[in-house]
């Protein structure tokens, strides 16, 4: 099942499926959000926004409305 990255709980590992078309897309690609990339949600700022993720071994923070552009799939759903 696909969901937006901003809805993923802390500590969960997911895979990038797709990035929605927007002016932000190329910047998200440049930061490493390519299809199939493994993402681990690390923690969130005090008001639940922004969030921090591990992407290819480095930590990136992004706002919820930015994370919303990224469609991800849970690891379990892939193996099931």
């Amino acid at each position: 099942m696909r969901s937006a990255l901003n809805s993923i709980k802390n500590g969960t590992t997911v895979y990038v499926k797709n990035i929605k078309a927007s002016a932000l897309k190329v910047k998200l690609l440049e930061m490493g959000f390519s299809e199939g990339k493994e993402i681990r949600v690390l923690y969130r700022a005090p008001f639940g926004d922004p969030m921090a993720v591990d992407i290819g071994g480095y930590t990136l923070s992004l706002r919820n409305d930015e994370a919303e552009q990224i469609e991800v799939e849970l690891y379990e759903t892939l193996t099931a």
């Binding site: 002016a23 932000l24 897309k25 190329v26 910047k27 998200l28 690609l29 440049e30 930061m31 490493g32 390519s34 690390l42 923690y43 700022a45 005090p46 008001f47 926004d49 922004p50 921090a52 290819g56 071994g57 480095y58 930590t59 990136l60 923070s61 992004l62 706002r63 930015e66």
Partner: protein, 649 residues
């Protein structure tokens, strides 16, 4: 030979720049933009090289005005900074993301050097790459390894730059050319194909990658914690603030006394005359007025340097982003605004850490509304003058409450104005965060020292010129008047003083007062009286308002001169007595509660500081923004004081 130093942020680029150029650095700006152009000269085998430090970027395609410098320069062979050699710093720990930018630069067909930097993270993660495999991917580039932290690799980097081969047309991604910077669709396709290639190639050359919960992740659990995160940040701010606010007064007093002595000494050894006056009353105090800010600037950037070097500053942005965003500010605005409570000058300079142009402008524009320490002498004088020393509600002193109110008014109006500006200032860029949070590391003190030196240099040379020029103009306006008017007034005062049989000191004070009243500034003060009458001010206050444009605290000194008393720099009892006794033509006291509070409100809002204007001009590279600041703060001051006076009287 021109060498461009390029690379992703947090790759150790700054360290490599410092290692190569040492102290031979110069900060200017790229043509037509407000981005600092840090260049350094160094020699390789007697060959003179200029190394230009470009802003750190993740891609050649810009995401902000600042980053556009990289694209503009590299896309235009006629650009004055178009490099002979591009040296790209690549972080070993994150080869994948770093290779995107490197391959883009490589494909421009410029002679290219890859500086494969061993960062702490790379060391901890024990990532191993087959460097030979990497060389095969980029056959026309020289690849050298370095470890900026232990300063190794300097000779190899220099030799690589010197021997970077001419390009013969090999490119990483076949059939590419640099795309238009607004062709987003094509950029997406190019980025995706580059990463597809990089993934495939990396899997063949990457040997080991250890995964573990890093130290940084553990630290982050505390430092971005919903409660402790803020507590720790508040504590750090408190320490910084304490240092700037309290401890910098010690060297500042030395500087103050030093320049006063220098003036006195110069006046003693030089023949009397206009030139000596210019030197001892205009130039020397003017230079002193620049130098006096150095301790605050140095201290603030010492701390900011540490916060940046350790990686903590990006966590500050992380926990403050949600709170500051609705106001048009950035998480990083907190440090500049907080340090503006000590002094707006280092505060405005600290706004440099904010990457988003609009958020940086808003931070700079509202920073002087925070109540700086130069307002304290003015508030102290006026509160003692008009606010009764009473206790309200059993515990709170009324005078203290008024002082608190003034600080609160300044802070709230800064936030409010930021919110207004957010809606007014238009920008094509859509603000976004996408901020890398580098792993925590201990600061490299060399880099911190270089930051402090660079900021002090920028302030002294760029803003110092303006400050010196304005202080000389203000001095001339206060010292000279039309034709014989001042001399005449001086003689009259002297005569009057001898009739009253005053002693030497009192006579001098009376003469100084009469002269100031008849100087150009005195005349200006009288001219603006009708305009400031509705605020409850007379021409004497008018004069002091004009002179305090040099710096707010000058208000007290000017008042002392006008009322012909000595400014003792402490409680100013005699001045307060004189001011309290001052009467309007109709016999009512000049300094009623309404006038006093109105005057304090004026000082909360008004842009009474030429040094701040000079640094805003330096940071924004135009007079437009400082003028807007003078304008909007002036309007706020006038309206605020008028409303206050009308309500209270």
């Amino acid at each position: 030979m021109k060498v461009a130093l390029l690379g992703n942020p947090n790759t150790g680029k700054t360290s490599i720049f410092n290692i190569l150029t040492g102290l031979r650095q110069h900060v200017g700006n790229f043509p037509g933009v407000t981005v600092d152009r840090k260049a350094g000269k160094f020699k390789i085998d007697d060959k003179e090289c200029t190394l230009i430090d470009f802003p750190g970027t993740y891609s050649i395609y810009p995401r902000s005005k600042d980053e556009a410098v990289v694209y503009d320069c590299l896309s235009d062979t006629n650009h004055p900074d178009f490099p002979d050699v591009a040296a790209v710093v690549v972080d070993k720990a994150n080869l994948e993301r770093n290779l995107l930018f490197f391959s883009q630069v490589y494909d421009l067909q410029v002679p290219t050097v890859m500086i494969l930097n061993m960062t702490d993270l790379a060391q901890r993660k024990e990532v191993q790459y087959d460097v030979e495999g990497l060389r095969a991917l980029f056959p026309e580039a020289i690849i050298v390894e370095s470890n900026a932290r232990i300063k190794s690799g300097k000779d190899q980097i220099e030799q690589a730059i010197l021997n970077a081969p001419k390009r013969e047309g090999h490119s990483f991604l076949k059939n590419t050319s640099l795309l238009s910077h607004d062709d987003l669709k094509a950029q997406e396709i190019e980025t995706e194909s580059r990463f597809a290639m990089i993934h495939k190639l990396l899997s063949s050359i990457q040997v080991v990658e250890e995964k573990e919960t890093t130290r940084s992740e553990k630290l982050d659990r505390i430092l971005v914690h919903p409660v402790f995160g803020y507590v720790i940040f508040a504590f750090i701010l408190l320490i910084i603030f304490q240092f700037i606010y309290s401890f910098s007064t010690i060297p500042m007093d030395w500087i103050d006394a030093g320049f006063a002595n220098l003036s006195e000494w110069t006046a003693g050894v030089m023949p009397e005359g206009v030139f000596t006056d210019l030197l001892t009353q205009g130039i020397i105090p003017g230079i002193g007025g620049v130098v006096i800010f150095i301790p605050q600037i140095a201290l603030l950037f010492f701390f900011i340097g540490i916060l940046e070097e350790t990686g903590y500053l990006s966590r500050v942005v992380f926990i403050m982003d949600r709170i500051m965003r609705p106001l048009g500010l950035n998480g990083k605005s907190v440090v500049p605004l907080m340090s503006s409570v000590a002094c707006a000058i280092p505060g405005v300079m600290a706004a440099r850490t904010i990457a988003d142009w609009k958020e940086r402008m808003i931070t700079i524009l509202v920073a002087p509304l925070m109540s700086c320490s130069a307002r304290i002498p003015v508030y102290t004088l006026l509160i003692a003058l008009v606010v009764p020393n009473e206790t309200v509600g059993g515990i709170f002193g009324l005078q203290g409450l008024v002082l608190f109110g003034l600080y609160a008014l300044g802070t709230l109006s800064a936030l409010f104005v930021a919110w207004i500006l957010k809606m007014i200032i238009k920008t094509k860029e859509k603000g976004f965060l996408l901020l890398e949070m580098p792993s925590y590391k201990s600061p490299r003190w060399g880099n911190v020292g270089m930051t402090v030196l660079e900021k002090v240099r920028i302030f002294v040379w760029d803003a110092g010129k303006v400050i010196l020029a304005i202080s000389i103009i203000l001095w001339a306006l206060a010292t000279y008047g039309p034709s014989d008017r001042m001399a005449e007034a001086g003689r009259m005062a002297e005569q009057q003083a001898s009739e009253m049989s005053l002693n030497d000191e009192e006579t001098q004070q009376m003469v100084a007062s009469a002269k100031l009243e008849n100087s150009y500034i005195g005349i200006m003060g009288k001219t603006i009286e009708p305009a400031i009458r509705p605020l409850g001010y007379d021409w004497k206050i008018g004069i002091s308002l004009i002179t305090s444009f040099a710096a707010r605290e000058v208000f007290v000194g000017s008042m002392a001169t006008i009322y012909a008393v000595e400014d003792d720099g402490e409680e100013n009892k005699t001045l307060i007595d004189k001011m309290r006794a001052a009467k309007n033509a109709d016999g009512t006291p000049v300094y009623s509660l309404a006038t006093g509070i109105s005057l304090m409100v004026f000082f909360v809002f008004a842009m009474q500081c030429m040094s701040t204007l000079a640094i805003v001009k330096r940071e924004t590279r135009s007079w437009k923004w400082p003028m807007i600041q003078v304008g909007y703060m002036g309007i706020l001051a006038y309206l605020g004081s008028w409303i206050t006076y009308t309500l209270l009287s």
